[in-house]
Symmetry: D2
Subunit: 377 residues, 4 copies
């Protein structure tokens, strides 16, 4: 069986999530390629060593460029802070490697465009970590929609809200910087925009409202020195889809009580479905003729679930969605097309976010096609 | 004790709801005035007779003008189709009577303005049937917000969706006519706009999107003759409030699976509350420091509930919200200020709906102050 | 139309609930008899006067025997404390009047048996206030079961728990006296036993465990003088039904967080249904082949609901269940058989409760047929 | 760092779950011992080879005795069918190895007793896969109870119901054989009995009712040849705890609509908590003074959760509970006491199940101390 060498950059939460996912994908799926965890890189070489050992990587590296250049590495997985996605992905593409990058793809649309153009030109496979879409319940939702089980789709209501910045004493971080693709829309909203495209299709125009509620935050936790904040705390938008559906999207990192409230409700001429990531193993579905919503619980009739458990109700966790994402990457590497988000998809999501920001700033409807976001534009 | 004579026009669902409410208010509350159910009018005099008997009215009438002129009548309750609200209310005001009118106040903003101006000039008490606000749980929500228990309010998300028009075979009715204040926004959305004002305060500007999904419907059930439909099936809007809060409002009568989904979620700097009319005896509340949302169940610590039951969990129904509305009307008649919606409030709601329609038609943000909607304007 | 004269004894919460129900039944239903609210009795004659006026009774009485003797009274409604049910009902039966009595029927099984024997001998119609059964959703559940939609019934799990006595400082009341049919089983559990019979059928044997957790309570609120308590705070039982189904019943008035948690879950060979009085307008149903439970919301397809609202989702409250109970009483009085609980049913419920207490006391399985509970036995 | 060699027997669903858990424990926790996945055994040696490769074991084996004898193996993990637990565990104990065995410990109480006696005598560490207890939310529940946050515990209601045998056409399997510890009580109910002990403490007496609803099943799927079935399809029991609490336990594999409905509700003099495995990341808690139940969502304030995600709401899945179980095993191996179920605990659970079966068969209350279940007794 052909080997597939993995090089992973980054050892934070997302680095570990990738490592777990590669390990588990190997154990759980009957993969067409033989995964090799070749090298793990972190600027802190000692940390890289320690993590490589714990996570099953054959080698550690302090230098990410060396990882990319390593001939045994076929896929470069990037889990570093956002501003590093661009240089690392571009280097990997230049080296002819596949790239598996965390979201957001880049810190601005021009970078993102350059990256997708480069990937296309080089013919390399790319994937971006819009992990929530790999939930088998989302796959089921997509299939139901595609099969017409809800009829013609007419509305979409999406939200991604959490409360981790609700306390005004929550300090500044890179997530509060425009230059690092910060703000609630980029950090959280992008997931629900991606979900909107994945489930309903392309958006053609938007109108929006963004707001910075807490214009200053401590520079570090507990400090009395305040830092001005320019990114959005909450964003609300109206969406029009190419297929005629209409809807709204909201995102906030100030909404008390919510921890991972990525919710979508999609309604068609023959039914409605609703999903909330806080109950990721459930899908609520109503179809014409039913007496009320059915609460469906994930089970082994869905292949993505069956991989982890033969019994309904056992439930998947977030890390297993990551494993499903990795599986799709590997299937793509084996030429067995899977449907994850590639750089083109990720660019479309960021273009949509850019359109939303423009619409909010200029207080008008913006057609997505207005935003070409090309590198150099 | 001073008597208060009630004249009720209309014997449909809403007429009966009023009749029940007057009867029950008398039984349930220790009222400062002695209610007399004087006369019930319906164009169908025989039906008026029959209903008067069943509902405890002393007399029946085929002629609503005679009811208004009856010197024993102090309050004229109007539950007729929307286009009759204007002539009836104007006649009642001219006769110096208090008016208790179902929503919407009128079929256009100019009529509504004329009505409120006339009521002001005549100094008569008015009330409009935004019944859902009289829910003790909504009263509790309002009080919590007013007390600052959620901190400064920063977001509002409201929706009123049902599915009674979801089937394209659902026929045309007066609800499908612009001239009769038809459409999902007027029929359903107005309730959530009223709730937005009641709970969060004045809206200053809106942007919106309305859509007619089913442009034709059978003229009557089962007919193959189709009637063109111009009113909205669904509307989505962005709201900016005077106090700085931002949010969205949606309404639809096409959303499968929902029967009375009037929901609001209001978030502040120190907490969030959520309500859904489909579970009208519950309020979900999260405040800083809690581990998760509390599901509060209506109980006798709320006076509006205690009137009906000494025990928590017994639950109120819709008709009891109507009784609470009637109680507030009577308290106002006794000079003991209560807080229901009067003609000024109802006009503000319709002005807001008008602004939303304008914003949608002209595809731009509209300041509410642009819409003067004055009679003759 | 023939008149039906109502005499109501008692002006507490239940007295008022009856009064509201009689008034509303008249307004809401097209009744075959003409209801007359003839006389209201209360030992406190002044209070009787005041309430009679507010509730629409033609006359007030301080003497309940006079009410019973009043030739205009056809139905005697009894809402007094439990120990008065027996003398009042026996007097009413002796006078040939129909009796509508609150639950429990009596303070012991012998009294209850004497009452049902007397009612049979006199041929009078009787009804007992097991109000929760009149919920249209319970009617729907019963119909589904009767139609075989769940297949053969194999399990029943019922509970009625509240927390109004959870605080050990909650003082003694007559509900704490065996002689007044006190305790959690009699006060709450009897409702779920009645529901078990109504939905699944006769119970043939039981085993049980009862417990007094707080053996002493203040004689009055705030007092340091404690009163010994002998009635059960919580009871758990195993049930075997005549049709082969098995199950459990629990009741407690100490269970924190619950206000009206009368819940039943019934499972058959082809499906399961679940109900909780704290969400009285909902029924959760699963049938073979479904993907998950459907949450059904009460609507006008159920006649008992349609009487109050033409629109689904408007929701009924507790007082409307009482109105439905009254309607069934009136239909029975008109010879148009309805299915409320009569004295025989109520006796069966108390016999079942007696069997449970015996089983708990003697720590053994008890066949219901062992408990004849005959007067004088 | 000292090495800890793992030998795993079995490659079914549970074998893989163990393998995943060992791999992930290594990646996720900072363990005091260095895990080595030494050898994987399966009677089908070829399958063992394939799985060993996929799951990261250094070697495969067709002979489990050889695995036990392998000097590099310190812990023998047993995931084979129930009847093999006894010989394998006894062999491992004889070899002085720690044993990590799936539940049930054995196919009868005598075997189980012999196993725990042997383990004690040999001084080896043992663990049994009552995996659901390792949920951080259950840990939180236990801690709240231990801290007295619910006051004195007075009631326990537990259930474990699924519907995988609800269809009478579901064929016979070893789970239908008494000799293989089959039946709903052993298969499902044992988990909730274990949970009862873990959260509330020892049970002192029981009364119970078991029932075989479908007395015959096809010998294999689709066959018309039927096999008589003697094990219980559903069991209901009353429990009395040593600390005075009372309650019920139910288990069924016939209850339509449920997939993994392991639920517990525990009530004390100051509060109530409720958990359902179908929403394993949630705990509902009510404490005196609250307005309603709080729905708590798992988050990184719980160490067992933080190991997998730094963010609340991400959610754990079943396989991660297994990883937590493995971590506790390893901590125990390192002499850093953790609190999983050992053979003594597992024997107590089976003793309790035996008492329940005895109580059902003999239709009487049974004291747990009556059941000595000693080997040879």
């Amino acid at each position: 069986m052909r080997e597939l060498g993995i090089g992973l950059i980054g050892t934070g939460f997302m680095g570990r999530a990738h490592a777990l996912a590669f390990n588990n994908a190997r154990a759980v799926f009957d993969l067409p390629l033989q995964l090799k965890l070749v090298v793990l890189a972190d600027a802190d070489g000692e940390r890289a060593e320690r993590c490589a050992k714990a996570w099953g990587f054959a080698q550690a590296q302090g230098d990410w460029q060396a990882l990319i250049n390593d001939p045994r590495v076929d896929v470069v997985a990037i889990t570093t802070p956002n501003h590093l996605h661009y240089p690392m992905a571009m280097a990997a593409i230049a080296a002819g490697k596949a790239v598996y990058c965390e979201k957001p793809l880049a810190v601005n649309l021009e970078q993102a465009d350059a990256m997708r153009q480069a990937a296309r030109a080089a013919g390399v496979i790319t994937r971006v970590g819009y992990t929530y879409q790999h939930n088998p319940m989302i796959g089921l939702a997509r299939q139901m929609i595609a099969n017409g089980e809800l009829g013609r789709i007419i509305s979409f209501q999406g939200e991604f809200s959490e409360d981790f910045m609700a306390d005004p004493a929550s300090p500044w971080s890179w997530r509060c910087e425009v230059e690092h693709a910060g703000g609630a829309l980029a950090d959280l909203g992008s997931h629900v925009l991606s979900m909107a495209r994945y489930l309903v299709g392309e958006v053609v125009s938007v109108c929006a409202d963004t707001q910075t509620v807490h214009g200053q935050r401590p520079v570090v936790k507990g400090s009395e020195t305040l830092q001005a904040i320019a990114v959005d705390d909450q964003t609300h938008a109206l969406l029009r889809f190419a297929n005629g559906a209409r809807g709204t999207v909201s995102s906030s990192w100030l909404k008390h009580g919510y921890k991972n409230h990525l919710s979508v409700e999609i309604s068609g001429t023959e039914g409605t479905l609703a999903f909330d990531q806080e109950r990721l193993n459930e899908l609520r579905v109503y179809r014409t003729g039913q007496k009320g919503f059915q609460r469906m619980l994930a089970g082994p009739d869905l292949p993505g679930y069956a991989a982890f458990s033969p019994a309904a109700g056992h439930q998947l966790g977030y890390n297993e969605l990551k494993t499903l994402e990795v599986q799709e990457l590997i299937m793509a590497m084996a030429g067995q097309g899977a449907d994850g988000s590639d750089f083109d998809d990720a660019w479309e999501v960021e273009r949509l976010a850019t359109a939303i920001r423009t619409a909010a700033r200029e207080e008008r409807w913006v057609r997505i096609s207005e935003v070409n976001g090309e590198a150099g534009a």
